[in-house]
Amino acid sequence: MMGSENADGFEETNLNAPREEMENLVLGVNGDAAGGDGPLTKSDVNGDSSNSGYRSAMSTLSNVHDPLSPLPTVLTPADSDPLFAPSSYSDVRSLGSKLNSSDNSYIEPPSYADVIFSPFDENSDSEINGGEDSSRQSLSSESLSRSPSSSSSDYIKITVSNPQKEQEASNSIVPGGNTYITYQITTRTNLPDFGPSEFSVRRRFRDVVTLADRLAESYRGFCIPPRPDKSVVESQVMQKQEFVEQRRVALEKYLRRLSAHPVIRNSDELKVFLQVQGKLPLPTSTDVASRMLDGAVKLPKQLFGEGGASAVPVHEVVQPARGGRDLLRLFKELRQSVSNDWGGSKPPVVEEDKEFLEKKEKMHDLEQQIVNSSQQAESLVKAQQDMGETMGELGLAFIKLTKFENEEAVFNSQRTRATDMKNLATAAVKASRFYRELNSQTVKHLDTLHEYLGMMMAVQGAFADRSSALLTVQTLLSELSSLQARAEKLEAASSKVFGGDKSRIRKIEELKETIKVTEDAKNVAIREYERIKDNNRSEVERLDGERRADFINMMKGFVVNQVGYAEKISNVWAKVAEETSQYDREKQSS
């Protein structure tokens, strides 16, 4: 896996050859001591504590990023190993523990220039989530056990790889059939529920949609991470390869987020998705409608019995409609969700919970600010990128000047000037690299903001579940009262007929039966609503806590990064100032 990082760097280097080579030439030629520069080697990547080590590692990153293309979209696909994300966190944590232990704060800080910014070794411990460190890591790429209560050795890591084209089974009339892409989904885990510690399945995007839909049904009120878009338009417009890669990355992120959710990671749906070979045994959305007609099916239990895996106690939450009486609920909800989708003539939900309304308002504000911050973060990243680029171009221009002066030199003053220029140029090229490295790190840290945009959508989803559950309750209540009104009317009419009205009495009996069913449904609906409200509350609380911690970590990472690179850049220029100290005019008396 280490090799793959290098391989990426190599491929990209060829594209950028002229400029990078020139820069290498500069740095190689100079070969000076600002941290053991040598010509960049692709071989020393990980764990190398010298500057050249991390610099070569980072240069594979900066090589991977094509400076000419817009930043955010390029980095995501090109940055194919998301493990790069927390690379600085190992250092944050080591620093953190160092600093936590000391009584004083950073009066004389250790130079952050010593902080190693090497990308993670895939096998290193640091990627293993757990309570070993209280500071949280970036949400973006890893599944983490956040709650302190979980055992510190829990982990689950999902990788999506190996996209392959496959043919639709030939029930289609069209010869050649439909092709689609499947992805290999590899899970490594030590969670007991899963059985084997490593396993793989192949899934297509449609399966992911199914998974997402089933989760949405089962986990109403929860803040479920949003799944990647279907994005039909993009798939036409983009290069196939690019699109597939983008989707692969998105899928990986999605599955990792799911497995990071303390409740959802234990869901049958997810387990089934990750483990069951062959066709995904979850009902597709079209199946739900037919299922409704056939009666409820306890799917997960059956499947696990089939697979031979240990029986999993199925939580009530996983069970869809139980028995015929719940059919009514299902039916009503289906009707509601349909009317929700069409908007318009939805009966208004009367939400009386002031606290909830306030919270909803707050969440909305928060979302606005996250959007705004995320945009400004992108601008900042672009500005840093540009700075690095221009600095590099300046350096290269001076290199050319240096060469020129040296070649054409007639006077010693020219040679002196050429030397001065060379020092400046070398520094500029080095500084340029530092800016670019700084930037790719910055992107990862500030990516947390982007991540939480997704989570805000999840919150909206949770609130929407609540609203629709409340709507169900209210609908049933009004249904109930109208049924009861009809019953009363019938009874009143019937009692006027002496001896009883056989047909009316029969109708009343039927009505009473319906009322009972509706009453039950109403109670179920109310229980469901309460349950969803609870889910909302606990989820929002959980998310708030996680978000605050994640943001603090983001800030820490961002700041540590800035400090580290600012120091490096400062050193580079201080050296030039030293080399040109004979030109210091401030010391002269005027």
Partner: protein, 404 residues
Amino acid sequence: MENTEQPRSISGSMQSPRSPPSSQPYLSVSVSDPVKLGNGVQSYISYRVITKTNFPEYQGPEKIVIRRYSDFVWLRDRLSEKYKGIFIPPLPEKSAVEKFRFSAEFIEMRRAALDIFVNRIALHPELQQSEDLRTFLQADEETMERFRFQETGIFMKKPADLMQMFRDVQSKVSDAVLGKEKPVEETTPEYEKLKHYVFELENHLSEAQKHAYRLVKRHRELGQSLLDFGKAVKLLGACEGEPTGKAFSDLGTKSELLSIKLQKEAQQVLMNFEEPLKDYVRYVQSIKATIAERGTAFKQHCELAETTKLKEINLDKLMLTRSDKVGEAEIEYREIKAESEEATRRFERIVKRMNEEIVRFQEQKTEEMGVAFHQFAKGQARLANGIADAWRALLPKLEASSSV
């Protein structure tokens, strides 16, 4: 006589001339106190020019006059005309557009450039003797204005003229006047090398200057984005509970602070790095003008030498035939000969001057660039340190917050 007191570095602004020891001859000038005068299209900047000197030709030890940009142009043109072969120090661009805005930055940069211009002249061993310089430094404003209006038409080199000179220099086409196939251009290897050097140098320098200018913009852009980012995260912090809210607020404040540092550094880079590079480019352009002058002088020298020879041959012929035109021819011959000798002298003086100027130029530029690089490096180091310090200050609080 020249002021060899200090090494010839004149970068940085001088608000008043230095007062060196009185025994040595000195001529020291400062350009200061820009004042905007006039209205709208006719507005202009006037500068105070203070001269301190003990040169006997000057009216006194100190003189203060008021000058405007076109006066400096007049001086430059006069010197170009009279001191061919010398690299006349360049002036900042006329810039008709900027004039309307007259931002503080622009005014200060122009003032500094004009100050450097005059001082370079004052320090040059030949130029400092110039009568026109004395006029410029001492004449009252009305006299100066008269001079300026008189001379502008005659001596102002239009761009078209300069272009023609360049073409003459660069072309190897034979001279139409002589009607001969002989190329009328110096082709000594040293001179060829020099010309090639000068033209190439301009290209390289322009590129470097272009990137330096972009770098200034990048500083400004980064500063702006830090400002916007700071504001955004502050607003975000207001939505969040503690301790994240406070952390965002601190982060935002620091970001805004750093924005200011970046804007300041942008200005420094502009004045102390980009401007010297631009000045370097202008200087090279001045050298190109000198090369053109030399080309013209060489052509004249060649042409007149040829013509003289022809006249001599003609005279000899007439003398042999005892023609009565001999007398006339003899006079003509002597006149042409004198002109030719004058042309040759002029050309040789240009060559001699250029040789000396090149040495001066290279040394001067090494010095000035060295200063520029040093200031740039110091500025960048200072900026980076400031950034590191500012962010570092946040870490204890963030650390405390994360362990809550």
